[in-house]
């Protein structure tokens, strides 16, 4: 079936099987491999992208379900001249990553979290990131980065 998505401002139509997952559409059909697949069971958050502005786990959504909608991936955050999104900049400055595997999903989850609540407490950040697993950082610097942006 033909599925059309607006990914990072660009319309993309591809002929895919109905069972195609959104994350497959993003990685394989659209060729945007910044979005990672981790657990593939909606636990780890590595595949987090924005659907119409809200964070979702793209391993647990069919591309067909979101036909016609707007998707933002990690590639869509920075400006075209390379200026990083404030959350990416805060991750950079706070050293909020080590191996980097969880980072695309983590950043997308953090952006959505701050958009929904600009006055986050540290506890709210930690709870708000319950859907994203990081095995390197102990979360500490990720939480710092989010607080940096939400207080800015």
């Amino acid at each position: 079936m033909e599925v059309t998505l607006n990914i990072n401002g660009v319309e993309q139509s591809h002929d895919v099987e109905p069972r195609t997952l959104l994350v497959q559409f993003i990685r394989e059909s659209a060729g945007l491999t910044g979005t990672n697949i981790g657990c593939d069971t909606s636990s780890c958050g590595a595949c987090t992208v924005h659907l119409n502005g809200e964070s979702i786990k793209s391993c647990t959504v069919l591309a067909a379900q979101v036909d016609g909608m707007e998707v933002t991936t990690i590639e869509g955050l920075a400006q075209s001249d390379g200026t990083l999104h404030p959350m990416q900049q805060a991750f950079h400055e706070c050293h909020a990553l080590q191996c980097g595997y969880c980072t695309p999903g983590m950043v997308m989850a953090c952006v959505s979290l701050v958009e929904e609540n600009q006055t986050l407490t540290e506890d709210e950040v930690r709870e708000g990131l319950e859907g994203n697993l990081c095995r390197c950082t102990g979360y500490h610097n990720i939480v710092k980065a989010v607080l940096e942006v939400s207080e800015a």
Binding site: P18, K57, T60, Q65
Partner: protein, 274 residues
């Protein structure tokens, strides 16, 4: 992991969904947020021949007040319910239980109707709806029927929904003055409850129910009866495991789950002012 092949049907009305269900019978499955169904399909534990996508039925996304009740459209997403001021004011227990479901990404997709129709005893939302004495509204070829929440869950992952019916609305009596508590015990924040408890106390009446303590979402009748006969929180909570049949798994033995049920009900009752 990729689900088995299926035919994808997108419908834009309740009538369209019912027609698809009538045509394809038990070979068809409705998909809303898909956060219960898609994982099952990816593990190939479920392989419907037809997937009927009801996500575009915007008519089923609402929270309203009607005759002293909150009425909630079945397709209302968890994130919209937990943040809704009417729900927070009139059914705070439901807002709290909903906030405990999965994580923010899951709550952006999952729907209240889907969580109930899945009939999972480990789900947080059915327990809150039991304590709140909610009513489930289903629509079929012959019109709609109201099912008291106590009659809706009939077995493990089985509900009273027929193959040609869909869940369309949930009615929750407004209890703005009730005291309540939602207790969830798990190892990691996003996990399912090892055991959970919903407690609601309103004008001397109580609603107490348990998560993951039976083959279905479970009303702790013995606790409610003890409260009705004047028991305090400690005495009433000692009755919490009566009638339950929890399973034993990697997280907890049967005995430990029963212990947790008593502890969580006690904490809940105390938080609810008993």
């Amino acid at each position: 992991m990729i689900p088995a092949n299926f035919d994808y049907l997108r419908v834009d009305s309740v009538e369209g969904a019912l027609e698809a269900l009538q045509e394809h019978g038990d070979e068809a499955k409705l998909i809303a947020g898909g956060h219960s169904l898609l994982p099952l399909m990816k593990f190939r534990l479920s392989a419907p021949a037809y997937l009927v996508d009801i996500n575009r039925l915007d008519d089923l996304k609402y929270v309203r007040e009607e005759n002293g009740s909150l009425v909630i459209g079945a397709l209302t997403r968890h994130s919209d319910i937990e943040a809704n001021s009417l729900v927070k004011k009139n059914a705070g227990l439901l807002a709290s239980a909903t906030h405990h479901v999965g994580d923010p990404q899951v709550r952006h997709r999952g729907t209240i109707g889907g969580a109930i129709a899945h009939g999972d005893p480990a789900s947080d939302i059915p327990s809150a709806l039991l304590a709140l004495n909610a009513t489930v509204v289903v629509t079929g070829p012959e019109g709609t029927r109201d099912i008291p929440i106590d009659d809706f869950f009939v077995g493990f992952l089985e509900t009273d929904l027929k193959d040609d019916e869909m869940l369309t609305q949930i009615k929750v009596p407004s209890v703005p003055d009730a005291k309540w508590s939602f207790q969830k015990f798990n190892r990691r924040a996003q996990d399912w409850a090892i055991v959970g408890a919903s407690v609601l106390v309103n004008n001397g009446q109580s609603g107490v129910s348990l998560v993951n303590m039976h083959s279905t979402p479970f009303r702790a009748t013995a606790v409610e009866e003890a409260i009705a006969s004047g028991a305090n929180a400690k005495e009433a909570s000692e009755q919490a495991a009566i009638g339950t049949e929890p399973t034993s798994d990697i997280n907890a033995s049967v005995e430990y789950r029963k212990h947790l049920a008593r502890v969580l009900v006690k904490r809940g009752l105390e938080e609810a002012g008993l």
